[in-house]
Structure formats: structure tokens, C-alpha cells
């Protein structure tokens, strides 16, 4: 069996559960259809040796001797039989063929069915009705079937929560597998199932996996964290703990995933990064590419909060000069740059880069050479936001390289480059030609390139750029041409020297045959003319002539505005234009009409003699226009300019108002100020804050304490704090020396060069040298300040120290290695459980077998022995019970409806019931236990099933009698009391199934024919809750009415007591470690300290039996009683599946007590912990 197949093995009980589902769906087929799976398989044990195919031959009385050919029809036969059973055929029959294939025994058929189903999912078809048929194949041995079932499961689990639960145990088992890949795969699927009820299980699984030996499993755990968080944000605090733990992980495999989880769950907890900062920086190069992106983006934010702005001092000094630095080739100039900076810095308060800041810059730089565009972009934005100005230049080359990638990549990169070019033009100037536009670029790329080119334009390169623009204007892509004309306009506004050239060029375009080109030019020229109108009256005249031809509204409006605004420069033409416009007024577009009114008003004010009548005419036309804006404008203008008696006050100022000098528009890049968004982010691209975007913080004024990043010796080497101290001492001289060479005002290049050369040799050998690098940074962060003053002094001493230091650091490393070895030699607890889970399968099975054999012989004897001890405490229980009743109703378990915890059952009662069982078993009678034999005990907590009022006088209550339900041992006995408080008698009371959760079964009580008024009757029915606390929804029928009622079991009622010795208990417990063990600490209230109280409360909360412990001295085991404080143990089995439930309460004289539950069914375990915890602590 391959390990992969193991993963899919279902535990016995799971198969049963699936089986029951199948029953429901297929209409209660005969159990024997697939005898191998049948739940009460004891008497059919001999079947299991046969192959199903053979079985069929057997059943059909040997008639199918024909062999292989007819297997198809044979397969169908049992199905048809089953179909007659009734009930299940209500479902649409669309996918019947697929169901049939899934039910078949042939993997190939199953595979084919799954493939078809997956293909349907891929096409978006709804296949949710196949869920029951598919989910039981989760146990299929064929890996591909299994994988496809996973695909299906993850897709539909959310819609079919209850059925999905059936698959959980498979994954739980997988979580314990010795093979790390299977553990990981199980966790991955488990955590992908979006079912809220399993949140506690996921939480446990994640916690467990987070401390797994295998880094791959830990990685999967990190992946699971955001999944759980999105399912239940309440778990945040616990998840943060896990994240904190995983952040400390030292492997590259985990790093990316855990930072991703960090970003999704708690990006604000920047403090968690401190201790891991240096490690993340050092691991970065080796992390997989996707993880790199996430880590770099996160570290950018981190650095913004922890370090000082490296450009703070330069800003003032170098603003103007930057372009010249970059104008020519990089290397030489950078040195000069460096020198200048040094001078500047010496005058001001010297800025010293935090070595951690440097570490980040240095370690991300090589990633600019990644093949992954996202990584390159991440590094680029990091440099843009964090690096000193002089160093940002390195990213340009890499970004330009990305422009040769796919157009989508270009699109995003160009957007970011556009933003960068506004702040740091010099950086991209050498690459100007890379932004030249190709005729084959998509329009959106062309427009962006144009944007970049415009941003890059300066006095020196404008001529080249304009020449390039000229070719673009001839392009066939009109949108692009329009964008080009605007770009020319922008260049002209920014660079005064070329304004006239540009203007002339644009004017030439006015004679272009393409109207769009002309129109766009007009709009741009208008903007340009506003800057120096007096020089260009001829252009205005020229444009006035265009009104005859140009039809584009925006252009017409622009021309009219120009003429109106500068009518003094064209005194003769302007009235004529108005005349023409007045003629066509009614046919113009709205914006044009508005400008005609404006023109008329302006002319009226300047040249009223010629235009008075025209203006009146236009205003009159406008008065009756359809558009209310135009009517408003006309009314407003008329009042303003035409002096009347009423409103003379304003018209005095009409000239000032209308003919005020308008400031020229500033043509700005749409990318201005976009850099307040973190570059490379979605928010930057959209220029709006996207959901979940984390603001890039501003630099702090003063640097936060850098020592927070100092990593102490990891926890597992708690051994000696002396070592730690020694380490620190050693480091100082050692590193301050290496740092001393470059001095406080370290230059970027020399630094990184020396670092890379020193690191390069050792890069493969890894940890050792990296660690030393890491600690290097650590030490000088402490050093830096002191160093300055003391530097001179120190130089002398330093020269002696290095050799010594190196030696010491070596010894240090070796000591660390020792520690590591030590760590290995002491295997962590996980190891134990793992090795145990290897042989997990066999013992549990065998133990179950032996259990059943034993039970008859041994159990009886033992039980009798055990009867005595817990007998006494009957009275106090009742008291407590009353108190609890109220409190309990307030307590909910997560998403469940309020689960009232059962009233305390007197121990005596429970014992007697178990005696009844024994006797029943012995007497071998198969008579149903009649209602009469069960004494309805008042002490049982009863729940209302039907209220007196809604029931119209019929009042129904139920309680869990904790008696075994004899007709079917897998059912929980529910005792129902009918009271007829109505005036008339109730007839034919019975229950019917209404809508049972899949898998649940109900054994109804015999119908009560007549219930006279004022009488009450008690009956017992059995419900198989499938080991879940889901309510059983039923229909209560009387002769006249039907009521919908539901019975909801508390988790403690889903089990029956099981008797075992302490040794057996311990043995079983040993097999249910790991995921199946849940431990909680609690503070017992005083009245709960004694043994009686504990036993009572636990037994009240859950139907368990006490395991006699050594201190009782009754146990036959020779082991001496444990010297420590008493430990109470309880055992039981779940009713449906018979899974063991082991409860241990360990009290301590001082400090918290501990409650441990071992149960294969984790849902049950988790819920039981809560219930018992409540029972004990309330």
C-alpha cells in the first residue's frame, strides 16, 4: 500500500456513517447490498473474504455464471431493487448514471465519473446533488479518484456542511500519518473545507502542525491560517500565537507562507517582526519567489516604521542637481555624488543608516535579477520607498527590462515608472529610448509610455522627444494621437524654451485633415495660449477661422472661449464670430451654447455698440432652450450685464466678474502624488484605496529603539544565560572593527561590494556565515552612537582585537552547534506520537475486537466491583442541579443552538441502568424494553418538545434516560412524556420523520392510541444522532394536527459508559494522543475540590463511567497508588460509532487543574471539553 493510499483510509466508523448516508439517498436499500460495509457486520464476517463480484454471483444463486460480459446489467440490478424501498426517489434523476458509477466497485468507473463531475464543475454546472455519492469515495484507494473527490469536497463542502463532516475523520487520521506529505495534504484539505463547525478541529490541527517536525507541514499550517481566519475571525488571537511561533521558523520553506498569513491576519502587529527581521532578510534570497514578494512588501512597511528617512538631509541640498548625476553613466558620477553628500552631511547633523536598514537594502538588491516580474517590482518599490536617493538608480535598469515582458506586465510597470519619474526623473533618463513607442504596442501601453516620456522631458532631451512625438502624430491610432497632442501641450507648459516651437507645431496640426487631431490641438492650444495670450493674436485669428469647419463640440467651445477671453486682441473678428454662432445657436451642442453665451456677454461688455443686438438675440434663444443649465446661464448673464433698475449693484462689477484674469491651467500628470500609495500595489494602480490595503507609514521622526531586533539565544538553548552575555561582549569589538573601516557615513557601493564579496564564497555553506552576518548587524546597531565619540580612542584597541574576536565567534558557533545537537538528541514530544501513530491502525482495531470479546466475560465482574464507590453522592447533586439549570441555559457552544446541559443524573440510577443492561444481555430475551419498565425519574433533566400552548393543550417533554436502547444499541434512548392538559382526549399520538439530517435514524415509539384529558403517558424512542449534536427534526402527529418538533442532544448524551481498568484506560489513552487529545487548564472552585463533587459533575455532564483508580485501593492492579494528587478518570463510548471517549481530571493542590479528553472524534471531544469544563467550574 502506498503511503498516499493510506491517507484515504477511512476508519471503520466513518464507513458506517457513509453507509447510512447512502441508505438515505438511495431509499433504504437492503443492508446486504454491500455486506462488507454493513455496520453490524459481525454475523456477516465471512462475507468479507469474498470479492463483491463473487458475492453477487452468490446472491443470485449462481445464475450469473456467464462471467465478465454482463456485469453492467448486474450492477444495475441491486439498485433497482433498492429503488423500490421508497422515500429516496424524490431527488431529480439527472445524475443517476454518475451515482451508479460512483457506487460501483471499479476504480475505473469511479474515476470516469469523477472526471465527468469535475468537468461539470469546471464548466460551472451545479453538481451538489451528487455530494453524498461522491463524499463516500473519500476513502477510495485510487489516488486520482481521491484527489478529484477532494476537489469536489472543497468546492461543495460549504453548501453541504453536515455531509462534509463525514469526511473529517479521514483527514484527522491523515494528520497523524508518519509521512509528512500525507500530514500536509490532510491538513490542506481539512483547512479548505469551509464548515464552521470544524473550526475547533482546524485550530487544533493548525497548532499541532505548526510544531511539526517537517517544515513542509509547517508551511501547510501557515497556509491554513488565513483560511481559518476567513472562516472565523474570532480565532484571531489564537492564530496570532501560531503566527508568532511560525515566524520564528528558520526554514525558507515556511518564511513566505507565514508572512502571507501575517499580512492577512494581523498586518498591524509589526512588533512580531522585530525578532525575525534579520532572519527574514537573510533568508530572503532562498525563499521561493512568491514568498519573496510578500516578504519584501511587508518589510517595506516595517522599515518605514523603524528606520529614519535616509533622504532627510539631502532633500534640502540636492533637489535641483539630481538630474545631472544621472545624466551620464552611473559609476563615476556616483562617487562624486557620494563626495558631495559627505560634505553636506558633515555640515548637518550626520545621518547614519541603521545597519538593519542597510541589511535590507543589501539583501534585496540581488533579487532585482529575478525572472519573476513581481519580485523585481517588489524590490523596486522597496528601493524607491526606502533607499537613499543615490542608490535608487539601480532599480531603473531592472524595471526597463520588465518592459520587454508581456503587455500586462508592461502596463503595471509603466504605471509605476510613471509615478517614479515624477519624483526621480533622473533615474530613468538614461533609458529614455526604452520608452519609445512601437507601432504594435496596444493603445494603453502607448499612452502610458507617452506619459513616461512626458515626465522625462527636460531642456536637454526635449528636442529628441518632440521629434519622436511628431512621428506619433502620424499614427493611425487616433486615441494615441490625441494623447500625443496633449503630451506635447504638457511639455510646452513645463519647458518654457520649447513653448513656441510646440505651439507652432500644434498650429500646423490645425490644418490636419483629421478632425480629431485638429480638435485635440485646439483644446491644447487654448490651454497654452492662456499662458501668454498677447503674443499670439494671429493664432487666435487663425483659430477663429476654424469655427466654420470644426464640428467637434469641445474644440468649438474652446475656440469660442478663446475669442471671448481675448476679444481685445481680435476686435474685428470677434463680433463676426458671434454673428455666425448666433445663426447656428439652436443646432449647437450644450457646451458650445454655453460658450456662445459667454462670448456674447464678454463682447457686450467690451464692445456693446456692435454686439448689443446680437447678445440680446442669443440670450433670447437661450431663454427657451431645452437645457436648464443654458436657461440658467442666460438668465444669470442677462441680469448681470444688462443694467436694469433692480439689480444695479452687481452689474457694476460685471466687467470684473466676467473679464477677470484667469490663471493659466497647470497641466499635470495624472500620476502626480500617487506615490503616497505603496508602489506596485493594487491601490497605487487604481489610485484608490483597495480593501485590505495597508498604508505605507511615514518615516518616524526619531528612530525607534533598534535593540528590539536583537535576537536572544533561541528558547531551546535556555541552558546558560552566561553564554548569552558572553556572546554580546564578543560581538562588539569584532564587528565594530569591520564597520570601522567604512566609517559612519558609509557609502552604498563600497559597503555592498565588500559584503557581497565576503559573503559570496560562503553562500552555499549557509547558516554559519549568514549567522555571523546577522550578528554583525546586531552589534553595530548598538554601537553606532557611542562609536562616533569614541571612535578615535577605539581605533587603537580595535586593531588588536579582531583575531581574538574571530576565534571567539568561532567557538560561539560551535557551541551553538552543540546546542543544536543536543536538541536533536532529545526528541520533542511530537516524535513520540508520530512513531506511535505508525502502528496506530492495528492496535485500535484489535483492541476493539478484544473489547467485544471481553465484555461478556470480564465486564460483568468488573462492573460489580465498581458499583460501590461512586454511589454515595446522590444528594448534593440535586442541589447543584437546580443552580445549574439556569446558568447553563446561558451558555452556548459556538454556533450551536443553546445546548442545555443535562440535569445531573444520580449515580445510583445510572448504575442500576447498567445492571439492567447486563441482565438483558444475559437473559438473551429480545423483547423490547417496554415503557413501563423504565421508571421515569424526576431527577432527569427534561426538555420541552412541545409547549402547552402551541400544542393546544398537549404538552410534551423529553429527557435522556441514559438507558441503553435495546432494539438498536447504536441509538440513544429518548424518553418522552406526553401530558394532555386539554379538555378533550388526544388520539393517535405518534412521531414521524420530518427532515432528518443525513445519516440520522429514528426508531419511533408505538403509537399512543388515546390519551385522555388530564392524563400523561411516557414512551421511549431511539434516535441515532450519528454522533453529532445536530437536532433531530421530527413531526409529532395527533389525530388532528401535526407539529414540527426537534430533539437536540447535549454532547454528553451521545455516549454510553464503558468500563475499563486504569491500565486499560492508560493503554487506550496512549493511542489517542496528538490531535485526538484536548487538554484544558481550569481553576476549580472550592466546593468542587473534593472527589465526590468532581465525579458527580463530570458524570452529570456526560454519560460516562468512572474508571477506578489506584487510590481507591479496590482495583486489582498491583501498581502502587500514585503519590501525587488524585486523578479521576472516566470512560465511555459514543453511541453510534463506538469511539472511545476518555476523560481525565487531574487536580492539583495548588495551581490549575487539568482536564484532558481523548477522543477519536474531535468534534465530540472539543464540545465535551467545554461542557465538562463548565460543569466543573460553575
Amino acid at each position: 500500500m502506498t503511503p498516499m493510499q493510506k491517507l484515504l483510509q477511512l476508519p471503520v466508523n466513518a464507513v458506517n456513517m457513509v453507509k447510512t448516508v447512502q441508505n438515505q439517498v438511495q431509499g433504504f436499500q437492503e443492508e446486504d447490498k454491500s455486506p462488507v460495509l454493513s455496520p453490524d457486520g459481525a454475523h456477516q464476517a465471512w462475507y468479507s473474504a469474498l470479492q463483491p463480484d463473487e458475492l453477487r454471483h452468490l446472491r443470485s444463486g449462481g445464475s450469473g455464471g456467464g462471467g465478465g460480459g454482463g456485469h453492467n446489467s448486474e450492477e444495475r440490478a441491486p439498485l433497482e431493487e433498492g429503488g423500490g424501498g421508497g422515500g429516496g426517489q424524490t431527488q431529480p434523476l439527472r445524475h443517476d448514471d454518475l451515482k451508479e458509477m460512483l457506487d460501483s466497485n471499479k476504480d475505473s468507473l469511479k474515476l470516469e465519473a469523477m472526471k465527468r463531475i469535475v468537468a461539470m464543475i469546471a464548466r460551472g454546472k451545479n453538481t451538489s446533488d451528487l455530494f453524498p455519492a461522491v463524499v463516500k469515495n473519500v476513502a477510495c484507494k485510487n489516488i486520482e479518484v481521491k484527489k478529484l473527490v477532494y476537489v469536489y469536497l472543497v468546492r461543495y463542502a460549504e453548501e453541504q456542511q453536515d455531509l462534509a463532516l463525514l469526511s473529517i475523520s479521514t483527514f484527522q487520521r491523515g494528520l497523524k500519518d508518519p509521512n509528512q506529505l500525507i500530514r500536509a495534504s490532510a491538513l490542506r484539505v481539512l483547512s479548505s473545507i469551509r464548515v464552521t463547525i470544524i473550526v475547533p478541529i482546524m485550530m487544533l490541527a493548525i497548532k499541532e502542525a505548526a510544531s511539526d517536525m517537517s517544515p513542509y507541514v509547517r508551511k501547510t499550517a501557515a497556509h491554513a491560517i488565513p483560511k481559518l481566519y476567513s472562516l472565523d475571525p474570532e480565532q484571531k488571537d489564537q492564530l496570532i500565537e501560531v503566527i508568532e511561533k511560525l515566524l520564528a521558523d528558520k526554514t525558507t520553506l515556511v518564511a513566505g507562507s507565514v508572512v502571507m498569513a501575517f499580512e492577512e491576519v494581523c498586518p498591524e502587529r509589526i512588533d512580531l517582526i522585530h525578532k525575525n527581521y534579520r532572519k527574514l532578510c537573510n533568508l530572503l534570497v532562498d525563499v521561493e519567489e512568491w514568498g519573496q514578494v510578500v516578504i519584501i512588501n511587508m518589510l517595506t512597511r516595517y522599515a518605514r516604521t523603524q528606520f529614519l528617512n535616509p533622504n532627510l538631509n539631502e532633500c534640502l541640498l540636492e533637489e535641483g542637481g539630481e538630474s545631472t548625476f544621472y545624466g551620464s553613466d552611473a559609476d563615476q558620477d556616483e562617487d562624486e555624488d557620494e563626495d558631495k553628500k559627505d560634505e553636506a552631511l558633515s555640515k548637518r547633523k550626520p545621518y547614519v543608516m541603521d545597519p538593519d536598514h542597510r541589511l535590507l537594502l543589501r539583501n534585496t538588491k540581488p533579487l532585482l535579477q529575478s525572472r519573476n516580474a513581481a519580485v523585481v517590482m517588489a524590490v523596486a518599490q522597496l528601493y524607491f520607498h526606502l533607499a537613499p536617493k543615490a542608490e535608487v538608480g539601480v532599480i531603473a535598469k531592472a524595471l526597463v527590462r520588465l518592459l520587454r515582458s508581456h503587455s500586462e506586465v508592461q502596463y503595471v510597470v509603466l504605471q509605476n515608472v510613471a509615478t517614479m519619474t515624477i519624483k526621480r526623473r533622473g533615474m530613468f533618463e538614461p533609458y529614455l529610448k526604452s520608452f519609445y513607442i512601437r507601432s504594435t504596442d496596444p493603445t494603453q501601453i502607448k499612452v502610458l509610455k507617452l506619459e513616461v516620456l512626458t515626465n522625462l522631458a527636460s531642456e536637454t532631451n526635449i528636442s529628441t522627444i518632440l521629434r519622436e512625438f511628431q512621428t506619433y502624430i502620424k499614427s493611425m491610432d487616433k486615441d494615441f494621437v490625441a494623447a500625443t497632442i496633449q503630451a506635447i501641450g504638457r511639455c510646452a507648459t513645463h519647458i518654457g524654451e520649447v513653448r513656441d516651437t510646440c505651439l507652432n507645431g500644434l498650429v500646423q496640426l490645425l490644418s490636419n485633415r483629421d478632425e480629431l487631431v485638429v480638435a485635440e490641438s485646439v483644446v491644447v492650444i487654448k490651454k497654452l495660449l492662456q499662458m501668454q495670450p498677447e503674443k499670439h493674436s494671429d493664432i487666435i485669428k487663425h483659430m477663429a477661422k476654424l469655427t466654420d469647419n470644426i464640428q467637434v463640440p469641445m474644440a468649438r467651445a474652446s475656440i469660442l472661449w478663446l475669442i471671448g477671453e481675448y476679444c481685445e486682441h481680435v476686435p474685428k473678428i470677434a463680433p463676426d464670430v458671434l454673428r455666425k454662432m448666433a445663426k447656428t445657436f439652436t443646432n449647437e451642442e450644450d457646451i458650445v451654447k454655453l460658450q456662445i453665451i459667454n462670448l456674447a456677454a464678454k463682447l457686450y461688455l467690451t464692445n456693446s455698440k456692435q454686439t448689443k443686438l446680437l447678445t440680446q438675440y442669443v440670450l433670447n434663444l437661450a431663454k427657451y432652450d431645452q437645457n436648464y443649465d443654458i436657461r440658467d446661464r442666460a438668465r444669470f448673464i442677462r441680469q448681470l450685464i444688462v443694467p436694469t433698475d433692480k439689480c444695479g449693484a452687481l452689474s457694476k462689477y460685471a466687467k470684473k466678474l466676467i473679464l477677470a484674469l484667469k490663471p493659466a491651467p497647470i497641466l499635470e500628470s495624472p500620476f502626480k502624488d500617487r506615490d503616497h500609495f505603496q508602489l506596485g500595489s493594487l491601490s497605487h494602480l487604481l489610485n484608490t484605496k483597495a480593501g485590505g490595503y495597508q498604508e505605507l507609514p511615514d518615516w518616524p521622526q526619531d528612530a525607534p529603539d533598534p535593540s528590539v531586533r536583537n535576537v536572544e539565544v533561541p528558547e531551546w538553548t535556555k541552558c546558560s544565560s552566561r553564554e548569552k552575555r558572553k556572546e554580546k561582549k564578543v560581538e562588539k569589538p569584532f564587528y565594530s572593527d569591520s564597520e570601522g573601516e567604512s566609517g559612519p557615513t558609509e557609502s552604498a557601493d563600497s559597503e555592498s561590494d565588500s559584503a557581497s564579496s565576503s559573503a559570496s564564497g560562503s553562500e552555499q555553506s549557509g547558516s554559519g556565515s549568514e549567522e555571523s552576518e546577522e550578528s554583525e548587524e546586531r552589534s553595530d546597531s548598538d554601537e553606532e552612537e557611542e562609536e562616533e565619540e569614541e571612535e578615535a580612542k577605539k581605533r587603537k584597541t580595535q586593531k588588536k582585537e579582531p583575531i581574538e574576536a574571530v576565534q571567539q565567534s568561532e567557538s560561539e558557533q560551535s557551541s551553538e552547534e552543540e546546542v543544536k545537537k543536543r536538541k536533536v538528541s532529545i526528541p520533542p514530544p511530537r516524535n513520540v506520537s508520530e512513531s506511535e501513530s505508525d502502528d496506530d491502525d492495528s492496535p485500535s482495531d484489535s483492541s476493539q475486537d478484544s473489547e467485544s470479546e471481553d465484555s461478556e466475560s470480564e465486564a460483568e465482574v468488573k462492573k460489580k466491583k465498581k458499583i460501590t464507590p461512586p454511589k454515595a453522592p446522590t444528594k448534593p447533586v440535586k442541589k447543584e442541579g437546580k443552580k445549574e439549570k439556569k446558568e447553563m441555559s446561558l451558555l452556548d457552544f459556538d454556533d450551536f443552538e443553546p445546548t442545555p446541559s443535562p440535569q445531573v443524573t444520580p449515580v445510583g440510577n445510572f448504575l442500576s441502568s447498567s445492571l439492567v443492561t447486563d441482565l438483558e444481555g444475559l437473559s438473551l430475551t429480545d423483547t423490547v424494553l417496554s415503557p413501563a419498565t423504565i421508571s421515569p425519574s424526576g431527577s432527569l433533566k427534561s426538555y420541552e418538545l412541545l409547549h402547552r400552548i402551541t400544542g393546544e393543550g398537549l404538552w410534551v417533554e423529553y429527557c435522556f434516560s441514559r438507558q441503553p436502547f435495546l432494539p438498536d444499541p447504536h441509538m440513544v434512548a429518548v424518553q418522552i412524556q406526553f401530558t394532555n392538559s386539554a379538555a378533550t382526549e388526544a388520539k393517535s399520538l405518534r412521531l414521524e420523520e420530518a427532515k432528518l439530517q443525513s445519516g440520522m435514524r429514528v426508531k419511533e415509539f408505538p403509537e399512543i392510541e388515546v390519551l385522555p384529558a388530564g392524563e400523561s403517558a411516557t414512551v421511549v424512542m431511539g434516535v441515532d444522532f450519528c454522533d453529532s449534536t445536530q437536532a433531530a427534526n421530527l413531526q409529532l402527529c395527533t389525530h388532528s394536527r401535526k407539529f414540527f418538533v426537534s430533539i437536540q442532544p447535549p454532547v454528553g448524551e451521545l455516549m454510553t459508559p464503558s468500563f475499563m481498568t486504569e491500565n486499560e484506560f492508560k493503554k487506550e489513552q496512549g493511542q489517542l494522543m496528538g490531535m485526538n487529545e484536548i487538554t484544558e487548564k481550569m481553576q476549580l472552585p472550592e466546593r468542587c475540590q473534593n472527589e465526590h463533587a468532581i465525579v458527580q459533575r463530570v458524570i452529570a455532564a456526560a454519560n460516562l463511567s468512572r474508571v477506578p483508580c489506584g487510590s481507591d485501593k479496590e482495583c486489582s492492579s498491583p501498581a502502587p497508588p500514585p503519590p501525587g494528587p488524585p486523578v479521576h478518570r472516566f470512560a465511555g463510548r459514543t453511541v453510534t460509532s463506538g469511539s472511545l471517549v476518555l476523560v481525565t481530571v487531574a487536580t492539583k493542590e495548588s495551581g490549575p487543574s487539568q482536564l484532558t479528553i481523548n477522543c477519536e472524534k474531535m468534534v465530540i471531544g472539543t464540545m465535551l471539553v467545554k461542557d465538562i469544563l463548565l460543569a466543573l467550574t460553575q
Binding site: T2, M4, D107, L111, A119, I121, A122, R123, G124, I143, E144, K147, V151, L181, S191, S214, Y216, T220, H223, P226, S230, L253, M260, D286, W290, P366, Q369, S370, R371, N372, A374, M377, A378, R401, R404, S405, H406, S407, E408, Y411, V412, S434, R438, T440, P442, T443, K474, M476, G680, S681, L682, L686, T688, A690, G691, G692, Y693, S756, S757, S760
Partner: protein
């Protein structure tokens, strides 16, 4: 991060959907279709769209849209890069990435997508790992599978996921150990009408095909690494070795991969291997025009130019062309207005020429702009930049591998080799 993926064909049908978190309805794509309506060309659909509750990030490859839905802030390049990686994985698996192929292999596609992302975050994107988990389909295996009902899944566990070198699968065995490296260079240039180069760049990649047993550690060195101005590497290459010694040191993935791509900084010194003389004019009357193209070798360093294809994007008014070519064949597509002249091998003695008349739409004004011309070509045995591989050494394994290096020069951007190469912008 990535919530869902929709594959949309050219005509706007969603033919595959995959959700990594809870299901998002198809209707979210309507926003995309709206944008697609607006765009003239599929390439013009904005890659990032904002809808009230989601963000749509899409790529257009091989006439298919890959549309991903995200709900919260995520680096757009991250998503785009991932989507391209998906396409490349499909190409790797199925040879091409088209609607039919995806539909035919829908189960494998689904399995791949399932493994590539976990909860929307990339999990296994290395083809070596993926192939350990899911076998690529072959005709033979498909037949065997249908006959025997066996699966595409590897029975072995994909242990590659665990290793620190995720790109290489474990337990590789070959009888012939070979390592081939193809140095492919492309010239990207814009030449104006007068023949002067506006800008020219050389872009190179080294494609490797390494089939070596075990865990070989290779070192590739160049004669003239100084030529390389800007480089990007496959993750297997050790950055620090490159920075310090200018050698490529790496443990290679198994099979085909792109080892590095580089850029040669030669500014305008790039030798353009061919020239095209063009004369395209339209009559004033507006009824037609003349076209005359001649191609010739310029600086080919003694090698023959092959696969020469000249593409002319005609003005919209051009209805048809009746031309004669002295060599090769031409096609004119009246729908896209593209004239393609496939010349083939360039004969320096007898220069190929294409001439004839163009007919214009009746009544259309004379097109004022001259069309742009793109050239695609290929030169074997030549890396135009002069880059030379010095030697390849192998450590870590004992056998002697067979090594080979091949040089090819092409024109054009590599992602769209069919259409751009050297654009002539005429003035």
C-alpha cells in the same frame, strides 16, 4: 489572494471556472465584458478592473483571457505573473494553450490549478514539481489509461515539494547525459525612413535543455561576460556567484528551462543585419497607390539571413494589393490591413523585391501617413552581440555529460515573434 479564475474565449464565453475560496458567481465577469466591448483590440482591455466588490485582473494570451478575481489588496504584478505562469504550465503540459486543448484536458487542468494555488496563494508553480504530482498527458498514456483505468497521478509522493531546490525533481536518471544551451538573441530596433537607427537593443535568452542524472551542479562561464548589461536568472542560479565571479553556478531543473535572459547594452552600435528600401506612395486622385519594397543584407557577419518576413500595416483605406514578388510569397488581409511578405532565405546576390499597385476605397481621401514596416528574421550560428560561452563544468556527479551550445539571432520581441521586429517609422 487570488479568489477565482475564469477562462474566457475570444467570443466571450466562460469555458472554465475555478474557485480557491468560496464560489464567486459568473456575473462578476460582466464588468470585464463591458470593458472588452469598449476596447478596440483584445490587447486594449485594461488588465486591472475595479468592480464594486472585486478587482479583476486579466491577461490575454493565445486568444484566451485568463481572468482572476481578487477581493483585497494584492500586488497586481503578482497576479499577472502567476497567470502567465499558468499559461506556461499549460503549454508545457499540452504543447499549446488553446480552448480545445484545455477543454480536452479539463481534468488535468483542474488538477494543475488545484496544486498551483492553495487558498489563492501560489503553492507549487515549478513544472518539475507539478510533473512529479501530475503526469502530462501523452497519446500513449492516454490510451493506456483508458484501457486499464490507471491514472495520471504519480503513485510516488511528490517529494520535490520538500526540498530546498524545488525546481529539480529527485531521482532523475538518464542513460545519455546531455546538456544543451541555446543562446538566442533578438534585435529590437526602430529605424526611421532614412535608414538611421532610432534605437536598437539586443535582448538575449539562454534556453537550456538539461538531461543529467542525479544532482549535477553546473558552472557555465562566458568568454566576455562584460557584454551583459542587465541579467535576470532562473531561481536556480546563485546570485552571489554571479556578482562576484560572473559565472553561472546552478543545480539545473530537469528538462527545458530558461536559464537566464540578458540585455546587451550597445546603444546605437547594434549591427542591423538587413535593410529595407521602401517606396509607398498614393496618387493624389485617391484611387490607388504604388508600393515598392526591396530588402538587402547589411551587416550579417558572413552568415545567411533566414526566415525573413516583412509585415506592412497598411492604412485603413487600402482595399487590396496586386503585387509581384521576385522571391517568396505575399498575402494581404483586407480585414486587418496587414501585408505579409514571406521572403525566406535572403540571397545577397539577387535582392528580393516586391512591387505593384494598391487600390484604395472609392472616395476615401489619400492616406497621409506612410505605413510602418516590421521585419522578422533569423540568423543561425550567430549571436549578434558576440557573446560566447566559454565552458561548462559539472560537479557533484561522476559521469561525463555531452555538452552543446547553439547560437541563434532573431529579430523581434520574443513574446510576439510573428509581428514585431524592426519597425520603420516613416517620417
Amino acid at each position: 489572494m487570488i479568489h477565482s479564475l475564469f477562462l474566457i474565449n475570444h467570443s466571450g464565453d466562460i469555458f472554465l471556472e475555478k474557485h480557491w475560496k468560496s464560489v464567486i458567481g459568473r456575473s462578476v465577469c460582466d464588468y470585464f465584458f463591458e470593458a472588452k466591448e469598449k476596447a478596440a483590440e483584445p490587447e486594449d482591455v485594461p488588465p486591472v478592473l475595479q468592480t464594486p466588490h472585486h478587482y479583476l485582473i486579466s491577461i490575454y494570451r493565445d486568444r484566451l483571457f485568463f481572468l482572476s478575481v481578487i477581493q483585497t489588496e494584492a500586488p497586481p504584478l503578482f497576479v499577472i505573473e502567476f497567470l502567465h505562469r499558468v499559461v506556461e504550465t499549460f503549454q508545457d503540459y499540452f504543447g499549446e494553450c488553446s480552448e480545445t486543448v484545455i477543454k480536452d484536458n479539463v481534468v488535468t487542468v483542474y488538477e494543475l490549478l488545484e496544486e498551483m494555488l492553495d487558498n489563492g496563494f501560489p503553492l507549487a508553480t515549478e513544472s518539475n514539481i507539478l510533473k512529479e504530482m501530475i503526469r502530462p498527458p501523452t497519446i500513449l498514456r492516454t490510451m493506456v489509461n483508458t484501457l486499464t483505468g490507471t491514472s495520471n497521478f504519480e503513485e510516488r509522493l511528490p517529494s520535490g515539494q520538500l526540498s530546498t531546490i524545488p525546481w529539480r525533481r529527485s531521482g532523475v536518471k538518464y542513460t545519455n547525459n546531455e546538456a544543451y544551451f541555446d543562446v538566442i538573441e533578438e534585435i529590437d530596433a526602430i529605424v526611421d525612413k532614412s535608414g538611421t537607427t532610432v534605437c536598437a537593443e539586443i535582448q538575449g535568452v539562454i534556453e537550456a535543455c538539461v538531461k543529467l542524472t542525479g544532482m549535477p551542479d553546473l558552472t557555465l562561464s562566458f568568454m566576455n561576460p562584460r557584454l551583459l548589461d542587465d541579467v535576470s536568472f532562473h531561481p536556480c542560479v546563485r546570485f552571489k556567484r554571479w556578482e562576484a565571479e560572473r559565472v553561472l553556478s546552478f543545480i539545473p531543473p530537469d528538462g527545458n528551462f530558461t536559464l537566464m535572459s540578458y540585455h546587451v547594452n550597445a546603444q546605437n552600435l547594434v549591427a542591423i543585419p538587413v535593410y529595407v528600401k521602401q517606396n509607398i506612395s498614393f496618387f493624389e486622385s485617391g484611387s490607388g497607390g504604388r508600393l515598392d519594397l526591396t530588402a538587402g543584407p547589411k551587416q550579417t557577419m558572413g552568415k545567411t539571413v533566414e526566415g525573413l518576413v516583412i509585415t506592412v500595416h497598411m492604412p485603413k483605406a487600402v482595399l487590396s494589393a496586386s503585387l509581384t514578388a521576385t522571391q517568396g510569397s505575399y498575402t494581404y488581409d483586407p480585414a486587418t490591413k496587414v501585408l505579409v511578405w514571406d521572403i525566406g532565405r535572403l540571397n545577397p546576390q539577387k535582392l528580393p523585391n516586391l512591387r505593384g499597385s494598391l487600390s484604395l476605397q472609392a472616395g476615401a481621401p489619400k492616406p497621409e501617413d506612410n505605413p510602418s514596416i516590421n521585419i522578422a528574421l533569423k540568423i543561425q550560428q550567430l549571436a549578434i552581440s558576440g557573446l560566447k560561452v566559454n565552458r561548462l563544468d559539472m560537479y557533484g556527479e561522476k559521469y561525463k555529460p555531452f555538452k552543446g551550445v547553439k547560437y541563434v539571432t532573431k529579430a523581434g520581441k520574443f513574446q510576439r515573434p510573428a509581428c514585431v521586429a524592426i519597425s520603420h517609422f516613416s517620417t
